[in-house]
């Protein structure tokens, strides 16, 4: 049995054809398009998982990355605090591997002692690995350091009590105590830049593109190509920290 609709069908369809276009016109007039566009471009951390690739074969040890980082993030300039630094490895034909990092590499590297017979030598940039299983986050007693939704390990400088346990727990020497703020500090992947679609300062200024910034699990990220075509390693994998800085061409002597 067909029930009689409350609004006759014809009337309903006529209303639609008149009112819907009108609705669109009104929306456009009041800039709804902009509002909708804004909703789309608002940063959603859950959509990202940041990581970095470093190509040892490309690094020329110029130190511009360490320099830019200090300028971008107001890192104290004494030669003992670094969010990122460059190490030089010199593997002689006989004897121990020599490693140095004078002022993080910012001022260049001094000459090798004459007579050193070198087998291999290269530069290795280092920074916080933003581990997926970070030992530093595990040990913070108050919850001042944490992994953000987009995979970046950050420190809340208003909450940190300065106990320095996280600095002890980091196997990579990436953390330091800020000398004046008295809180733990470290590389943030330039969080204030990447959340605006920019690159971290160290990646921006690398003249040979030895540093590649991108996202894990995103096919269109430049990091994906890097991971596809390089035999990558991470630092100290046996510690199960799951670092997210991937090294291509890292020698076994790199620790």
């Amino acid at each position: 049995m067909n029930k009689e609709p409350k609004i006759p069908r014809r009337e309903f369809l006529e209303n639609c054809s008149r009112k819907v276009p009108a609705w669109f016109l009104i929306m456009a007039t009041f800039g709804a398009e902009e509002i909708l566009a804004q909703e789309e471009s608002k940063y959603d951390p859950g959509q990202h998982n940041y990581a970095m690739g470093i190509d040892i074969h490309k690094c020329i040890g110029c130190g511009r990355c360490a320099d830019a980082c200090k300028k971008e993030n107001q890192v104290p300039t004494e030669p003992v605090f670094f969010r990122t630094w460059v190490e030089r490895y010199v593997i002689p034909t006989e004897g121990e591997t020599q490693v140095d990092s004078p002022n993080g590499g910012i001022d260049g590297f001094p000459e090798l002692k004459s007579g050193t017979e070198v087998l291999r030598t290269f530069f290795v940039p280092k920074l916080c690995n933003h581990c997926a299983n970070p030992p530093c986050v595990q040990v913070c007693p108050v919850g001042a350091t944490f992994v953000s939704e987009d995979g970046v390990v950050l420190v809340d400088e208003t909450y940190c009590v300065g106990c320095r346990y996280c600095i002890q727990a980091c196997p990579y020497g990436a953390r330091y105590l800020h000398p004046t703020k008295k809180v733990a500090d470290k590389c943030t992947f330039c969080y204030h830049r990447i959340t605006k679609g920019l690159l971290p300062a160290c990646v921006e200024v690398c003249p040979t593109q030895a540093r590649i910034f991108g996202e894990v699990g995103k096919p269109s990220s430049p990091l994906r190509r890097f991971l596809r075509f390089n035999d990558v390693t991470v630092l100290k994998p046996w510690l199960n920290t799951e670092p997210k800085v991937y090294y291509a061409g890292a020698d076994g002597e790199v620790k």
């Binding site: 951390p45 074969h57 490309k58 690094c59 020329i60 040890g61 110029c62 130190g63 511009r64 830019a68 300028k71 971008e72 993030n73 030089r88 490895y89 010199v90 260049g108 590297f109 090798l112 070198v118 030598t121 290269f122 530069f123 919850g143 001042a144 350091t145 944490f146 992994v147 953000s148 939704e149 950050l154 809340d156 208003t158 909450y159 943030t188 969080y191 204030h192 830049r193 959340t195 920019l198 690159l199 300062a201 921006e204 200024v205 003249p207 040979t208 593109q209």
Partner: protein, 249 residues
């Protein structure tokens, strides 16, 4: 009737004290723990926004193109296309915001370019390097090289211009007198466009045999070996580093 055991008198003040303590803890939790703590994890969620609003110092690779289009486009056709403007000119975000107030630095003189181009054997072989003390001392780098289109004033004749680390080893070896081209086929284009046109490495024993085989027509001081049997399955350079052939070690 249930006989309720009498609570010992000692426990009453203790119970009161403990209750007060627990109460103080609960109150402190309410008052002192920051509002957004625990929203996203065991941290103060608001701090993510605070960190995200830090001031920028560097403007970015593409920031300069809108105003400095000519220079940018020139640079992008040159060997420095991967070098961001701010590598040499320093952080420029303040310049982008107020172009007349803040001017980025222009590195002149000879102090800056050697940070990348000064000879250092740890740099990858093939990266163009000079020895600053020997290379046109006293003259500013910019007087011969345009940093936005760094062409060399003339095509390098010597391989050591880019392969100094190898040249330095070879020059004190028994092969010092041999030019690189004796063993490596180097197309002319390699000196101009080294990344795209590669030089070749030799692939057979006969090359070394030209001097080192038993019946070769070369100086009698050159050590000789039986080309067919010496070293079995290995090629010459599997054992002898051609740039410093330490034949007796």
């Amino acid at each position: 009737m249930l006989k309720i055991p009498k609570i010992p008198q000692q426990l009453i003040p203790l119970a009161i004290l403990f209750a007060l303590l627990i109460g103080a803890l609960v109150l402190a939790r309410q008052l002192l723990v920051p509002d957004t703590f625990g929203d996203l994890g065991h941290y103060r969620a608001q701090v993510v926004n605070e960190i995200g609003s830090q001031q920028l110092a560097y403007a970015g690779f593409e920031a300069c193109v809108d105003c400095h289009t000519d220079v940018y486009q020139l640079k992008q056709q040159s060997r420095h296309k991967g070098v961001a403007c701010e590598v040499c000119h320093g952080p420029a975000a303040s310049h982008v915001n107020a172009p007349d107030e803040f001017k980025p630095n222009i590195p002149k003189g000879r102090g800056f370019c050697p940070l990348c181009h000064g000879y250092n054997p740890s740099r990858p072989s093939g990266f163009p390097q000079i020895i600053p003390e020997q290379h046109n001392p006293g003259r500013a780098c910019m007087s011969c090289h345009n940093p936005h289109y760094p062409l060399l004033p003339h095509t390098p004749e010597e391989c050591s211009a880019c392969h100094r680390d190898i040249a330095n080893v070879k020059v004190v070896s028994p092969h010092a007198a041999l030019p690189c081209t004796r063993c490596h086929t180097v197309p002319e284009q390699h000196r101009i466009n080294p990344k795209f046109v590669r030089a070749e490495k030799p692939s057979s024993r006969e090359l070394c045999g030209q001097c080192h085989a038993q019946g070769a027509e070369s100086s009698p001081e050159i050590p000789r070996i039986d080309l067919e049997t010496h070293g079995g399955r290995y090629l010459c350079w599997d054992c002898h580093y051609p740039h410093y052939p330490e034949a007796h070690k």
